[in-house]
């Protein structure tokens, strides 16, 4: 099956309802404000270690979650806060994990990179680049084995796309027709290495061709285009045709992690994407232009989100550190 580029660039605005757009706006804004707050708490020393912000990439998870059904699974790398918020995990529990407190999703033991929620079918938070790809393939293997109709979204980066285990996974997934969607979040950099400097081809979505996996490139800054691509992919998987690849063309605005001086790209490059392609601004304009939404309506949402994020931050500061005995628990079942 051939790989293809997504059809027209900006799609389907007209048939997206105001309610739907407002929902996207709210969810994307929640992620952005949450991440800004995380950055702030990191600067204050309340969050330690590595902390990888998702700012700029919000449309990817929000669009794909809109295409997912209850029971579908997802997993990703260490850049995971956005995925957790988008699948409905509680901002308080996520933020408290960032600060390493008892109220966090892993009770403070996992940290920013390692969080899970069985309830929301979120299978992590993985610190080793590429490792989540075969794991996601295995979740799909289980779904097919159990014949439960579930689909797994396995997210990974453009850098991770160079790990050998990705191709070992592609082969098995195609061979056994597993219901897994490989979502490549191509934000153009793996730490300080641009895609051109690391990949022999600029089009990662074509890398499934040799295994017979269809792939498409999608404007990952356009939440509606993402949702539509997600629907095509889930439909393909649910109808038993095996895996599907979505390469999301996106961009990260912040450094790789908090301690990245980001000398490998110019301020202007970042600024240009922010000004011309920002996913939240895009939806905001649509709402203001054709959908009878006022500045005040949006301001009210902004305020609401700010309150949610402030509550989460407050909770993450006041939730106690884990009890000392916790050092020894959860090692074996």
């Amino acid at each position: 099956m051939a790989a293809r580029k997504s059809a027209p660039k900006k799609t389907a605005k007209s048939n997206t309802s105001k309610e739907e757009l407002l929902e996207y706006y709210r969810e994307m804004l929640l992620i952005r404000r949450f991440e800004e707050k995380s950055g702030q708490l990191y600067g204050m020393g309340l969050i330690g270690g590595f902390c990888h912000l998702y700012i700029g990439q919000e449309a990817v998870v929000v669009g794909l979650e809109a295409a997912a059904k209850e029971g579908d699974k997802r997993l990703t790398s260490y850049r995971d806060h956005g995925h957790m918020l988008a699948c409905g995990m509680d901002p308080k529990g996520v933020m408290a994990e960032l600060t390493g407190r008892e109220g966090g999703y892993s009770r403070g033991k996992g940290g920013s990179m390692h969080m899970f929620s069985k309830e929301k079918h979120f299978y992590g938070g993985h610190g080793i680049v590429g490792a989540q790809v075969p794991i996601g393939t295995g979740l799909a293997f289980a779904d097919k084995y159990l014949d439960n109709g579930g689909v797994t979204f396995a997210y990974f980066g453009d850098g991770a796309a160079n790990q050998g285990q990705v191709y070992e996974s592609f082969n098995m997934a195609s061979l056994w027709e597993l219901p897994v969607i490989y979502v490549i979040e191509n934000n153009q950099y793996a730490m300080g290495t641009s895609l051109q400097r690391a990949s022999s081809t600029p089009d990662i979505y074509t890398r499934g061709e040799a295994f017979g996996i269809p792939g498409e490139a999608v404007d990952g800054m356009d939440v509606m285009a993402v949702k539509e691509a997600g629907e095509r992919a889930t439909e393909h998987c649910r109808s038993g045709k095996g895996p599907y690849i979505l390469e999301m063309k996106t961009y990260r605005y912040r450094g790789h992690s908090m301690s990245d001086p980001a000398k490998y790209r110019t301020r202007e490059e970042v600024q240009k994407v922010r000004e011309e392609r920002d996913a939240i601004e895009h939806v905001r304009e649509l709402l203001l232009q054709g959908k009878h939404t006022s500045e005040d309506d949006l301001k009210a949402i902004d305020k609401e989100i700010k309150a949610v994020v402030n509550d989460a931050a407050e909770f993450s500061k006041t939730s106690p550190e884990p009890a000392l005995e916790e050092l020894w628990t959860d090692i074996y079942a």
């Binding site: 800004e36 950055g39 702030q40 990191y42 600067g43 204050m44 020393g45 309340l46 330690g48 270690g49 590595f50 994990e97 390493g100 407190r101 892993s106 403070g108 033991k109 996992g110 940290g111 920013s112 990179m113 390692h114 993985h126 610190g127 080793i128 680049v129 590429g130 850098g159 991770a160 160079n162 790990q163 050998g164 793996a190 730490m191 300080g192 290495t193 400097r197 690391a198 990949s199 605005y253 908090m258 301690s259 990245d260 001086p261 980001a262 000398k263 490998y264 301020r267 922010r274 500061k317 550190e321 884990p322 000392l324 916790e326 050092l327 020894w328 090692i331």
Partner: protein, 460 residues
């Protein structure tokens, strides 16, 4: 309401930095995302962005100020309608650090066990260094870079390969300047494909080159461990001695600060088990340099275990044309008569600190740094134990099948009759590394534990 802008922590181990440059001035309006200032840490210069929008009411710390502690107020932002005059009283510089800032500041040193602590300036006599040699204070980071640069200058077949080693100058800035000096043919950025490039470099070693492979951290070498053990270490044997594999696998190993279970573990005992490998794990900058030079010249594969938390530490390094340290020779950092403390790598920090404290209480500890874990200098350890009759071992790795266990077995075989107390092995706790600050502290071996163990074996 006026809000204080605090000196940010820009890396897991940062405690203070230089406020290099202000990019805004008082009265400027800023948006979230605008760059406020440039801040220098020992690793890099970072841009510091505004989180909220507002107006810069007052700049509290002038540019060029060094040693600004994390969380010190550096400026005050005001909102519409406020004037800079209003804030003078509201936030006199550093009068009351933001209340929420107080806790993390107190916690910071624990999160970064070694940062900013002076190293005991004792450098034990080094037989390789002629008396009167000039000493220069050098960080471990610079020492490693100098070793690579010197060996690359003298041997064209030596090259460096790894993730972010070239243009980014190393994820931890160890390869700083090497791309400039040696060019892209010899300082090579790889894709994130550890298994692939470790295998490729091993093949290049068979093909006549001398690769230095940097793993961004040794946690990621697990992707590549098959080639390290099954290919690099065994091929000489399997080929009946025809093929050698002159390669160095190097990078930071062991716990870093607050990075959780997958990024914080010590592989010393893992690699030390493998026949066909050499394993070095330096503590000081001088040993980092001298051992790395030896590693690069070796005809055998060497696993070279560094430590992120030690990179920024300074030690005296002898100024010599060619300072190479042989493998298999321990360094006695401190002579003593009551108890032998055996350690290596960052464990030495706790061992030396404990020895200082013990001396104050009249317990004289002899502190031995193994420096290489394969080969191990058993003689130095055994001779010391024959003198002190007591021994404790200190390492960061897990307790089961630790280096300390192995040393203890050797002591039992060779010096059983000399022991006046059972040997105690101090290690990291038998758990994956937790993220929470309080739990992480508990998981690591501490100076206090070393002191306690020394007292236990000396029955004090």
């Amino acid at each position: 309401m006026a809000t204080e802008v605090l000196m940010p922590a820009l890396s897991p181990t940062m405690e203070e930095g230089t406020l290099a440059k202000w990019l805004v001035k008082e009265g400027d309006e800023v948006q979230s995302g605008d760059i406020l200032a440039e801040i220098e840490t020992d690793k890099a210069t970072m841009e510091f962005e505004a989180v909220d929008e507002g107006t810069i009411g007052k700049i509290l710390i002038a540019e060029g100020t060094e040693g600004v502690k994390v969380n010190t107020p550096i400026a005050v932002m005001i909102e519409d309608g406020e004037s800079a005059d209003d804030i003078a009283a509201a936030s006199a510089p550093a009068a009351t650090p933001a209340p929420e800032a107080a806790a993390p500041v107190a916690e910071a040193p624990a999160a970064a066990p070694v940062a900013a602590q002076p190293i005991t300036p004792v450098v034990a006599a080094d037989p390789e260094v002629p008396e009167g040699t000039e000493m220069r204070s050098t960080t471990v980071r610079e020492a490693l870079r100098d070793a690579m640069a010197e060996e690359m200058r003298s041997d064209d077949t030596v090259f460096l390969m790894g993730e972010e080693v070239a243009e980014y100058q190393g994820a931890y800035k160890v390869s700083q300047g090497l791309l400039d000096e040696f060019g892209a043919k010899r300082v090579i950025d790889t894709p994130i494909t550890e298994h692939g490039f470790a295998g490729l470099a091993t093949g290049a070693a068979f093909g006549g080159l001398k690769p230095i492979v940097e793993f961004m951290t040794f946690n990621f070498a697990m992707q590549a461990i098959d080639h390290i053990i099954n290919t690099a270490a065994k091929t000489r044997y399997m080929s009946g001695g025809q093929m050698s594999c002159p390669i160095v696998f190097r990078g930071p190993n062991g716990a870093a600060a607050r990075v959780g279970a997958q990024h914080s573990q010590d592989y010393a005992a893992w690699y030390a088990q493998i026949p066909g490998l050499y394993v070095a794990m330096p503590y000081s900058a001088a040993d980092a340099k001298g051992l790395l030079k030896t590693a690069i010249r070796e005809e055998n594969p060497v696993v070279f275990l560094e430590n992120e938390l030690l990179y920024g530490q300074s030690f005296d390094v002898p100024v010599m044309d060619d300072y190479a340290i042989p493998f298999g020779k321990a360094r006695i950092w401190r002579e003593g008569s009551d108890v032998t403390i055996v350690s290596f790598g960052i464990g030495m920090k706790y061992a030396l600190e404990a020895a200082d404290e013990l001396a104050k209480e009249g317990i004289s500890a002899e502190v031995i740094d193994l420096r290489t874990l394969r080969p191990i200098d058993y003689d130095t350890v055994v001779n010391s134990v024959m003198k002190t009759n007591r021994c404790i071992t200190v390492e960061e790795g897990w307790p089961v099948a630790s280096i300390g266990n192995h040393i203890t077995a050797q002591i039992m075989e060779r010096a059983f009759d000399y022991l006046d107390a059972p040997v105690i092995n101090l290690t990291g706790k038998d758990v994956p590394m937790p993220y929470a600050a309080n739990l992480e502290k508990l998981a690591l071996v501490t100076t206090a534990e070393v002191i306690q163990a020394a007292k236990a074996v000396t029955y004090r």
